[in-house]
Every structure is written in C-alpha cells, then in structure tokens.
C-alpha cells in the first residue's frame, strides 16, 4: 500500500478532477463540494480513459401527473463522469453505471491531511 499525493485541497475546485499515475495505474480523483472520490481510469466497458471524460449531471426525463413526457432535465445531485471512448456514464459518488448496477468503477480510498488530498493504492 502506498499513499499518493493528489493536490492541495484548495487547488482542486468543485467538479474538477486530477489524474494521478502510479506505474500502469491511472486514477482519477474528483472533488464534489467538500467530498473527494477516487476511481481507476480504466473503463469496465473496453478499457477507455474514463476519468478523462466530461463531467455532467445525470439526465432525467420529466413526466407530469398523467405520465406525459415534457423533455429533459439535469439532476443536480447526481454528477457523472462520462467515458470519452463510448459514453458509459458513472455516478462520481458511487462509481456505478446509472443503468446497470453491475457495471462499476474500481475505487480507492481518499484521505485529506494538512490541507492536501491523498489516494491510497
């Protein structure tokens, strides 16, 4: 087990990520508010650089009381990282694909110490 320095807490803004590299291992460390999450940048679909993708909120389809559809909306609470190779999306808080709970990213523990972010591998 080793601990890798990621960034100073203040250097990573909300909804930003930093990629840290240890040998062949690439890890994306994400900040959402005051929370930090670390996932391997290796997509379970085909091995794409998932953590280098776009960060976007989950999309929902709006239905009214009679179940008529009224277009899309973004869901603020669910922030996704989207694999740039083919578009698989993963919830940054859970690492799980929104449509298939079995499809998930491999996570790593994150520690905050003395104003800096570390990930343990």
């Amino acid at each position: 087990m080793s601990e890798l320095f990621v960034a100073k807490v203040d250097d990573l803004a909300d909804r930003e990520r930093r990629i840290v590299v240890e040998g062949a291992l690439e890890i994306g460390v994400f900040r959402l508010g005051d929370e930090f999450f670390a996932w391997e940048s290796n997509c379970p679909h085909a091995g794409g650089p998932v953590c280098q993708g776009r960060i976007m909120n989950r999309v929902n389809e709006v239905l009214d009381d009679e179940k008529r559809a009224h277009g899309y909306e973004f869901v603020e609470a669910d922030v996704h990282i989207i694999c740039p190779w083919h578009g698989y999306e993963f919830n940054i808080r859970t690492g799980v694909h929104p449509g298939d709970a079995e499809t998930r990213l491999r996570g790593f523990p994150v520690t905050i110490r003395d104003g800096a972010v570390y990930v343990t591998v």
Binding site: R17, I19, V21, A24, E26, N42, A46, G47, G48, P49, Q52, G53, R54, M56, I82, P84, W85, H86, G87, E89
Partner: protein
Amino acid sequence: MATDDGFKRTYPEIDDWTDSRELLANARKQAEERQLDDVFIVDIDSHISDGGNWPEIMDYVEDPVIREAASAFGDGSKRGAFLNGTNGLQWQNVWGRIPHGQGLKEAVEESELSRETILARRCMDQMGLDYQVMFPNAMLFLGMHPVPEMEVHLATAYNRWLVERVLPEDQRIKAMMYLPFNNPVEAEATVKRFLGKPGVAGFLITSSRHKPVHANEYMRLYGMLEESGQVLGFHTHLNWQNEYTSQLNRFISMHAISFVLCNLVHLTNWIINGLPERFPKLKVMWIESGVAWLPFIMQRLDHEYMMRTSEAPLLKKLPSEYMRDMFYTTQPLERTNETLLAASMEAMSAETQMLFASDWPHWDFDLPATIWDLPFLDEKAKRNILGYNAARIFDLEIPEKYRALAAE
C-alpha cells in the same frame, strides 16, 4: 507513457481537439499487455475524415462546370460543397459526451502528407494495426443525393483523390472504391477505371439508398467484380427519413434500427433472388451492421423458405447456408450478452467469415482487444478474425513476421 515517436501523455480532459494518440493511449496499453503487436491485424472499416480535405477533393471533380461551382460553397472555401449529409451523423457524440464521435479535430504537424494519412498512422500505431481500410464519412450519404448525377461527380472525385493522393502515401492504408450505384453504367466504369490501382482493396456500395440490388441492370457489374476477384462491400448507414425510422425520436433508436434495416433489405433481396447462385464466386461483405441481426434473418428466411420455395426458385440450399458463404465485419460487436454473441458468431462461421473492423473514430468504435478478449473463441479464430481472413479475402500481403501462423 511515451510512444515510439516520443509522444507523451499529459492526462487532460479529453475534448474535440485531443490528439488521438492521447485518446487511444489505452489502446496501446492493451496492445502491449496482450502482445497484439505479434498479431496480424487488419481494420476493414475506418472513417478518418473530418471534411477538412473536401476542398482538395473538389479539385478532382472532372466536370469543369461542377468543379468551378464548388467554389460557390462554404463562403468560397468549397467546404461541404454539394454534400447532402443529414443531421443524424452530427448526433453521434451524444451531445458532447463522446468528443471524437463528431470527427477528429486535432492539430497535425506541417507535412507533405495528407491529414488523413497522419491521423490514420496515429490510430494504426496505437491500436497495433497492420492495414487499415479507409472510408470517408461524407460519402456515406451519397446514395440518397437528390441530384442523382452528383453521386457520380463526387464519387469519381473522391476515388481519384484517394488513389492519386492518399493511398500512395502509406502502403498500410487501403481503400474500397465508392461505386455510384444509382447509375449502373457509371458503376461499371468505376470498376474498370480503378481496378488494380495500388491500394485499392475492393469496391463498395453505401447501403442507404432505394435501389433493389437484384435489378437486372446490375448483373454486368456483379459479373465484372466476380471475374476480377474483387470484394463487393455493402456499407450500412442511417436513414432517419423513411416512414418507419422517422417515427424514432432518439438517435439511439434510429441508430439501432436504421444501421441494420438497409442491410437487412439488401441481403434479403440478394439471397432470395438467387444472386449467390448467379455469382457463386463473388465475395460479398456486409459492413457495420454488427452481428446481432444475423441469427434473426438466418432463422427467419430459412423458416419461410421451407414453406415458399417456389418464390425463390434459384436457391439450391437454405438461405442461411448462403449467408455463411458471405463475409461480415464485426463492428459494432454487440456483447452485453455473451451467450447470444457466442451463438451468433458460431452460426455465422465467424472463424472464416468475420473480419475485424474498428469504425474509428465513430462513437461506437471497437478495438482489437474487443475480439482478443472474447472468452469463447480459440486463438486461431481470433487471429483469423483480426487479420488472416482479411488477408485471404482481400489478397493482402502478410508481413514476414506473421507468415508462419498464417500458414496454419
């Protein structure tokens, strides 16, 4: 990670302008982990073309009036001149989520080489490809052009540009020539003109069109292709305008159906009208419809043929048996259900009839590892699908280092 040419990874967020060596860095990693550089790999279908060279292609238009008229497009730049592209393709990137789905916009170094060759080399090096067959996006729509003769003007310009400008730049790049199929006489002329030119790997019909492939006016064309041993490819494409697909309100729905529908129609006509009996040696290939449609149409046609044989009197065996004599590219390899995929590939005699295709840089591209990692194929089948089937069918020269295994 640094590649041979010293390219270094920088780990930025990937966007529309990201260098494809960065974007495909994990493909290189996969190739090294699996030792794919020791595997002969041919990519039958790629679409490295962002329209940037269209003005140059317009200079190859032979009709002087049309060539001059190209300058009236794109604020005088000739960009997009005469093209009938539909909006559908612009939805490939899932509204910004898959940047390369909208074409590669990356910078390339100043060079005598065409942009296509530079970008193809970046892809081939990262994926570990030995040959790549190139087909530009813009041509995929042409079969539906409202001005039929424009198909001939643009196809000829494009074929000439490939043969005269791009293919001589790198022996690893091959191309299938576009057949202006809406005009059978011009399609025959295209075969006569480009047959045997260096780098020409066969001839191709874009499947998005409303011409029945069994019409008598095409028999001479098929005969020419059969006699010359050329591959005839049917490359699928979208059609969001017909009565059925126009009801589909999402790209996912249209893509799932439309990219299969056109080849379903052409393949059904091809078989039921007995074209495999009329041209038994013609090598026919179905490109970019994936694999999942094949068991469906096999079973369906066999089932109905047994009851309605008199409607297909030229057939001497089951439709599915003719299907197993034809060739198919693998991409997009539907593989969320491995059991179904294994059965489909077995039904198709994949070991001898399937050929790897990447479709790079489209949104649903596949990698060589997609085939290499399939648990139900043995290594010989994987090597055949990745390269040796292509070498056999297209008569490609296999580099020395792979020859021993090819002979097995």
